[in-house]
Symmetry: C2
Subunit: 325 residues, 2 copies
Amino acid sequence: MGYSVFLIKEISPFLHLIMSLLVTGTVAFDAIETPFGKTDKIIGGAATYVSLAASYFTKDVALVAVVGDDFPQEYIDLLNNKGINTKGLQVKAGEKSFFWSGRYFNDMNSRETLITELNVLADFDPIVPEGLESPDYLMLGNLAPIVQSTLISRLKNRPKLIVMDTMNFWMDIAMDDLMKTISMVDVLTINDEEARQLSGEYSLRKAARKILAMGPKYLIIKKGEHGALLFFEEEVYFAPAMLLEDVFDPTGAGDTFAGGFIGWIASTDDISFENMKRALIYGSALASFCVEKFGTENILDIDANKLRDRVSDFRRLSYVDFLTD
Amino acid sequence: MGYSVFLIKEISPFLHLIMSLLVTGTVAFDAIETPFGKTDKIIGGAATYVSLAASYFTKDVALVAVVGDDFPQEYIDLLNNKGINTKGLQVKAGEKSFFWSGRYFNDMNSRETLITELNVLADFDPIVPEGLESPDYLMLGNLAPIVQSTLISRLKNRPKLIVMDTMNFWMDIAMDDLMKTISMVDVLTINDEEARQLSGEYSLRKAARKILAMGPKYLIIKKGEHGALLFFEEEVYFAPAMLLEDVFDPTGAGDTFAGGFIGWIASTDDISFENMKRALIYGSALASFCVEKFGTENILDIDANKLRDRVSDFRRLSYVDFLTD
């Protein structure tokens, strides 16, 4: 064994199986300020990051989302050029796209929201176009839980796996809707503080047990620079985060992680716990690229060799040889 | 491969090689308050936890420390019964032992010190008894850095590996002494906030590079519930922390971790980076027992099978099978 374990026969992430992946969430403008600089309005939104990340693993990715007619065609082209089907991206005439602006503090672990303009998101009706109603896999990016559950109800068949991301905001204002949607999904992804809020337990092991009892078979707790945990029954798997020289901009890291995760699952068409662990590593690797530059900049065109090397780095990070054979 | 990797041929921690380990640090009274309860004065101190933990791996452990004549013989018997040589434990007539009292907050990650009485520690002269002056391995538990370097200077031969623990307190009041002592050791163990303070860098990767330039060949950054990092040149290894149901009392966890680490190294007589990674797992496993009860209670008599199972749990926690063979 030893380091030869890293000479992977086939880790090419470009497997291109024909499993279809449907993604919903926000497609939006972001304006970001970090200690390293600031951006004007750039392309952002959960569904943007999720679908870009997933596109590294599977080419059958489609979006259900909404923007205003202020959303530039070049951004839509950018998604199409990555093979993302935008037939389900509603463009509302005379309306404005969702806009979020935020500022990160020095430690990059906390941020303040400067502006939130819901605009078209305020009355988003998630219409699933014909031909996209039977996806093999479904990723519900962060959105109002009622919108997420509405989308599920409009599918012709239940997907093989439904992954849901959400945030503390919905716990504060829409707990009943949230609990209902959570009960409908297979995998829930939230961060550690959200897991504590949702469960009322400080211990993440206790929190996970309570949340799994709410419906999902799997729970992913994201701990940012401290990695991510995957819970399944009484099993737990820990994926470390990469130790980067600097985190330049954390925006979209969680969505990129989720996109890499569901993209890997869809491309391998394997929903076993063992394969989900691998998916966590691929998601983490993509997220580590995301935070190295502003916005989506660093995940638009990741070189296949660089991605493979990053995955190897992740595996080496927590690999220890116990002299077995 | 698969889970068979966990069927370890020989992980018995009771290897009992004849490498000698010298330990210094405090031997003291602690009074601890946590959300789960409080203790009277119980046995505590860095050297106590370090030597108890190390005693699970090697039986040639000796202490250099100081107490007052208020220190009960039963506590000294307790150390002797674990095979720890207390010839170097000075008992000062008419003086009182070091006493620390603290209270942990609900999250167990922060605490306040209620009482610190230096007593005998104020003028501790680390005298190394005859016969203990040439240890194979040396663990410098947290103490004034001038005392740590004095002890090194009194040894007849340089040990194969010197491991040093310290804390932010010495960075605040004795930086010059601290830098001198750090330059004399092979492995430095500190927590993440201390690494940031010592280096002036927020990024732990950058912090590690600066600290390794201060002299040590290896740096261990302890992140509590978030695990531990081992740095060596440009390599980094991440050992996760166990996800416990509850952390009952974190007192001594870092010292227990260090004791398990150096105990494993001494018992295997192998100072390679690969073996240090294993040592991190063993140290983490012992620390996970420590925090499950008050003070030293849970590390006085750990069953060999329970320790083996815990080590297996740790390895499974971050093990992922990438379908190689």
